[in-house]
Amino acid sequence: MISRTGLRLSSVITAMFVSQSAAAEWGLNMPQGVTEVSQSIYDLHMLIFWICVWIGVLVFGVMFYSIYKHRKSKGAEPSKFHESLTLELLWTAIPTLILILMAIPATSTLVKMYDASDAQIDIKITGYQWKWEYDYLGEDVRFFSNLATSKDEIYNKQEKGENYLLEVDREMVIPTGVKVRFLLTAADVIHAWWVPEFAVKKDAIPGYVNEMWVNVPVGKEGIYRGQCAELCGVDHGFMPVVVRAVSQDDYRAWLAEQVAAKAAEAAAALGDFSHEELMTKGAEVYASRCAACHGQNGEGMGTVFPALKDSAVALGDVQKHIDVVLNGTPGTAMQAFAAQLNDVELAAVVTFERNAWGNDTGDTVTPKQIIDARNQ
C-alpha cells in the first residue's frame, strides 16, 4: 500500500514536468463530441474561454504592471485620483457588449438543443438506485443496465480494466443517422443521465418526464461512455451509462435478437433446476443486484437497509419473501425486481437468500413458483 502510493506520488511529480503531449492524454478539455450539438457547445465553450483569457490578460496585466512599477520600494509617489465617471461608464458598457455577443450564439445553440421534434425512435430511460432501465417504446425490448466492474477491482484485489467503472452488463444500442429521443424519468431519487461525447445531460426526476435527443452521424459508430451526474445515494459513483451506436441494419438485427432472446429465456424458465444450480446463479445475482444495499454477506447497512442474515423475511414464509423481491416495499428503499430480473434469476436469488450465511431453511424456489407469483 505504502509503496504503491509512493510510486504514484513520484509518477505524479514526474508527470507535472513533462511535455504537452502527455498533458493531452490527461484529458484537459471538454470533448468535442460526435454530434452537431456537441460541436456547437464545444465551440461556444472555447469562445467564452478565450474571451475570459483575454479579459484576464488585460486586467491582470494592468495589475501586475502596477505591482511592478508603482511600489513604494521603487520610490513611487501615490497619486490622488479616485474617481472617473467616464471610466466607470466605459467598463460598464464594454462588458455589456461582450455579454451580448456571447448571448447570441448561446441562445441559438440552446434553441437547437430544445428541438426534439421529428425523432424517429423513442427510448424511455428510468433511473433507479443505482442502475438504468432502457425501454424501447413501440418495441418489445426493455432491460436494465448495471455496472459490470467487479467489487474486486473496486477494492484493489484485482487489476483495474481499461474501462474501470465505465462498463455495464447491457449497453443501450442506438442507430446512427437517426434522431433518437430519450424520455427520462426516475423511480426513486433524482439521477442524471450524461454522455459527454453527445453533450446530452439531463436530470431523471421521479414524477417528471424530461426530454432530450441525439443524432449520431453515420460513420461515428462506436461505444460512448458516461456516468450518473446527480448525487443519488451510496452507489452514485457506480452507475455508468454506456451507449453503443451502430448502423441502422445492425440496429434492426440487434432488436430482433433481443426479442428472440427474451422468448428463449421464458422457455428456459419452464425447465428444471437443481438446488445447487440455483444457489450458484443466486450468488451471482445477489452480488450484482442486492449486495450494494444488503451487504456482501447479508449484513445490511445502517438503518435504511436491513440485514437479510437471520431476517424474518428470509427465514419466514416463502410467498412473502418472493412478494417482497418481486414488488418491493412501498415507502422504503426496497425496489421491485419483477421487471429487472427474469424468472430464473429471481428464483435463484430467493433460493440463495434463504440458504446463505447460515439461513438454513433448505428451501428451493423454482422459476415456476415465480411465474405463479407473477400471475397472482
Binding site: 475570459c52 508603482h70 448571448a103 445515494g233 452514485h236
Partner: protein
C-alpha cells in the same frame, strides 16, 4: 441614545473574570472573538473532512473509507464550511469592526448578540454528533435535494433540520443586530455615503440574510413535514414535486453565495487602499455595484437548475440574468486595479492575501461566467468544473479575504504586530496549495468527472492525485496560521494606534489594543 449608553458605561470598566466572562458577555469584541475562534475550529474540522475526501480520491479504487462514509464527509464538509466557518467568521469580523468603524460604543442589541453566538456551538454540536449515531451523518450533499434527503434519508436528517433552524435563527439575529447598529449608532457626520465599504457590504449582506434565511427555514420545515407528518411537498408519489425543493432551496442558495462573498469584497476594499496609499477608486460605484449584485442574486437562482428540464424561455431568462452579474462584479475588479494603479504599494501579508483574492476570485468569476452559458452548462453541470468554480470563489475568495482581514486588524485587536516573515510563509504556502488543489479540478471536470463520487475512472487519476497533494499542503499550512495568531496574542511587538502607514478610518483612531468599550464619546467625522 447617548445618555443611555453613558449610564450603561458607568458600571463596567473592563471584562469580567473567568469563564463567565465569555458565557455572559454582551461586549462586541468578546463576541467577535468567540465567533472568530468558533469559525476557525469549524475550519479545521471541515478541513479535516476535506482531507479525508482527498485522501480517498488520491488514487482510483476504494482504499480508506466506504462510499457511504464518503457521502457523509462531502455533506458535512460543505455544511460545516458554509454555515460554520465562512458565515460566522464574517459575523465575527462585523462584531469587532462595525462599531469601531461607525464610531459606536458597542452593537445596538448586545444581549441578542450573545444569544446569536451561543446558539451556534449547540447547532453544530448536534450536527457533528450525528456522525456517531447508528444511522450515520447526513449523506445527501450540502444541497440536500429531496427525495434523497426525505424519503431516502438516514434518520439523522431530523437533527440536521433542527440544526439548520438554529443556524438560521442565529444568522437572522446577527443580521438584525448589524442593521440596527449601522442605521442607528453611527457617529454624527458619518453619513451613509461616508461609511467604510466593509460596513456597506455588511449592511447589504444583512438584508440578504433576513430575506433568505426564512426561505431556508421554510424548505427544511417542508422536509420535516414530509418525513414525519405525512405530507407530500416533495414526494411525487403523493402528488408533490421534487423540483419545487430545488426552486425553494436555490432561492435561498443563490443569495447565500453572495452572503459569503459581499463582506469579502468589503474587506478587500479596506485593505487595498491602505497598502496602495491611495483612496479607493470609485467608492460610489462600489456601493452601487454591491447593491446591484444583491438585487440580481434574487433573480438568477435557476441557473443551478439548468439541467432539470426547465422550459426554453425560463432557461433563457436565467441565462441572461446570470450573465448580467458579470457587469457589477467586473466594475469591482476594475476599481480595485485602478486603486492600485499609480499608488505606492507595499506587500505586507494582508495585502498579499488581498491581491491573491483579486486574481483568484476573478478566475472563479470567469468560470462562473462560463457556467452561466446554459448550453455549455449542460456539459459542466455537476462535474468537477463546478467544484473548481465554487472553491475558487470560496477559498481563495471568501476565506483568503477573511485571513487578510485577520492579519490586517489583529494588531488593533491584540495590540501586537504578527510575525511578518511567518505571515509571508503562510501566504505563499496557502497560495501554492490552493492552486495545486483546485486548478486541476477544472481539467477533470471538463474531461467528464462528475462531482460527489468516491471513486473514478482511470483517466482522471493523475489530476486527482495532484489535487490531493495540494489539499494536504493547503490544509497543514493553516496550522501555521494558528501558530501565528497565538504568538501574536502572546507577543509584545507593540502596535501603534494607526498600525499601518496608509490606514484610514475611525478604527485606527483608537489605541491598540482597542479599549473594551470602543467610543464612549462620539468621535468627530470629517
Amino acid at each position: 441614545m447617548t445618555s443611555v449608553v453613558t449610564s450603561h458605561e458607568d458600571g463596567h470598566h473592563g471584562p469580567a473574570k473567568g469563564l463567565m466572562r465569555w458565557v455572559l458577555t454582551t461586549n462586541h469584541k468578546d463576541i467577535g472573538t468567540m465567533y472568530l475562534w468558533f469559525s476557525f475550529t469549524m475550519l479545521l474540522i471541515g478541513g479535516a473532512m476535506a482531507l479525508i475526501i482527498r485522501a480517498e480520491l488520491f488514487e482510483p479504487g476504494m482504499q480508506l473509507i466506504e462510499p457511504e462514509f464518503f457521502n457523509q464527509m462531502t455533506t458535512m464538509h460543505g455544511l460545516i464550511m458554509v454555515f460554520g466557518a465562512i458565515m460566522p467568521a464574517f459575523v465575527g469580523l462585523a462584531n469587532w469592526l462595525v462599531p469601531m468603524m461607525v464610531g459606536a460604543p458597542d452593537m445596538a442589541l448586545p444581549r441578542m448578540n450573545n444569544l446569536s453566538f451561543w446558539i451556534l456551538p449547540f447547532a453544530f454540536g448536534m450536527l457533528i454528533l450525528t456522525l456517531f449515531s447508528e444511522a450515520g451523518a447526513p449523506n445527501f450533499g450540502w444541497t440536500f435535494y429531496a427525495p434523497l434527503s426525505t424519503t431516502y434519508a438516514p434518520s439523522s436528517v431530523t437533527f440536521f433540520i433542527f440544526g439548520v433552524h438554529l443556524m438560521g435563527i442565529s444568522s437572522i439575529m446577527g443580521a438584525i443586530n448589524i442593521i440596527a447598529t449601522i442605521l442607528n449608532m453611527r457617529a454624527p457626520g458619518m453619513t451613509l455615503m461616508k461609511m467604510p465599504l466593509f460596513v456597506w457590504t455588511w449592511l447589504i449582506t444583512a438584508y440578504l440574510l433576513i430575506a433568505v434565511m426564512p426561505v431556508l427555514a421554510g424548505v427544511v420545515t417542508m422536509m420535516l413535514m414530509d418525513i414525519h407528518f405525512g405530507t407530500s411537498f416533495f414526494n411525487a408519489a403523493g402528488g408533490g414535486d421534487p423540483v419545487l425543493f430545488q426552486h425553494v432551496f436555490w432561492f435561498f442558495g443563490h443569495p447565500e453565495v453572495y452572503i459569503m462573498i459581499l463582506p469579502a469584497f468589503g474587506i478587500v476594499s479596506q485593505i487595498i487602499p491602505t497598502f496602495a496609499r491611495k483612496p479607493l477608486f470609485g467608492y460610489a460605484s462600489m456601493v452601487y455595484a454591491t447593491a446591484s449584485i444583491a438585487f440580481l442574486s434574487f433573480i438568477v437562482w435557476a441557473h443551478h437548475m439548468f439541467t432539470v428540464g426547465l422550459p426554453l424561455a425560463t432557461e433563457l431568462f436565467f441565462m441572461y440574468a446570470t450573465m448580467l452579474i458579470a457587469i457589477p462584479t467586473g466594475v469591482k475588479v476594475f476599481n480595485w486595479v485602478s486603486t492600485m494603479f499609480r499608488g505606492s504599494m507595499t506587500f505586507e501579508t494582508p495585502m498579499l492575501f488581498a491581491l491573491a483574492f483579486v486574481v483568484l476570485f476573478t478566475i472563479g468569476g470567469f468560470s462562473g461566467l462560463m457556467l452561466a452559458i446554459a448550453p455549455a452548462d449542460f456539459q459542466y453541470h455537476d462535474t468537477y468544473f463546478v467544484v473548481a468554480h465554487f472553491h475558487y470563489v470560496l477559498v481563495p475568495g471568501a476565506l483568503f479575504a477573511i485571513i487578510a482581514g485577520v492579519y490586517y486588524w489583529i494588531p488593533k485587536w491584540c495590540g501586537n504586530y504578527y510575525n511578518e516573515t511567518l505571515g509571508k510563509w503562510h501566504f505563499w504556502l496557502s497560495f501554492i496549495g490552493v492552486n495545486i488543489t483546485f486548478f486541476p479540478m477544472h481539467f477533470v471536470g471538463l474531461a467528464g468527472m462528475p462531482r460527489r463520487i468516491p471513486d473514478y475512472a482511470l483517466q482522471f487519476a493523475d489530476f486527482n492525485a495532484v489535487a490531493s497533494v495540494g489539499a494536504f499542503i493547503f490544509g497543514f499550512s493553516q496550522l501555521l496560521f494558528l501558530y501565528i495568531v497565538i504568538t501574536t496574542i502572546r507577543g509584545n511587538n507593540k502596535a501603534s494606534a494607526e498600525v499601518w502607514e496608509g490606514a484610514e478610518g475611525l478604527e485606527w483612531t483608537l489605541e491598540s489594543p482597542a479599549p473594551y468599550h470602543s467610543f464612549s464619546e462620539p468621535p468627530e467625522v470629517k
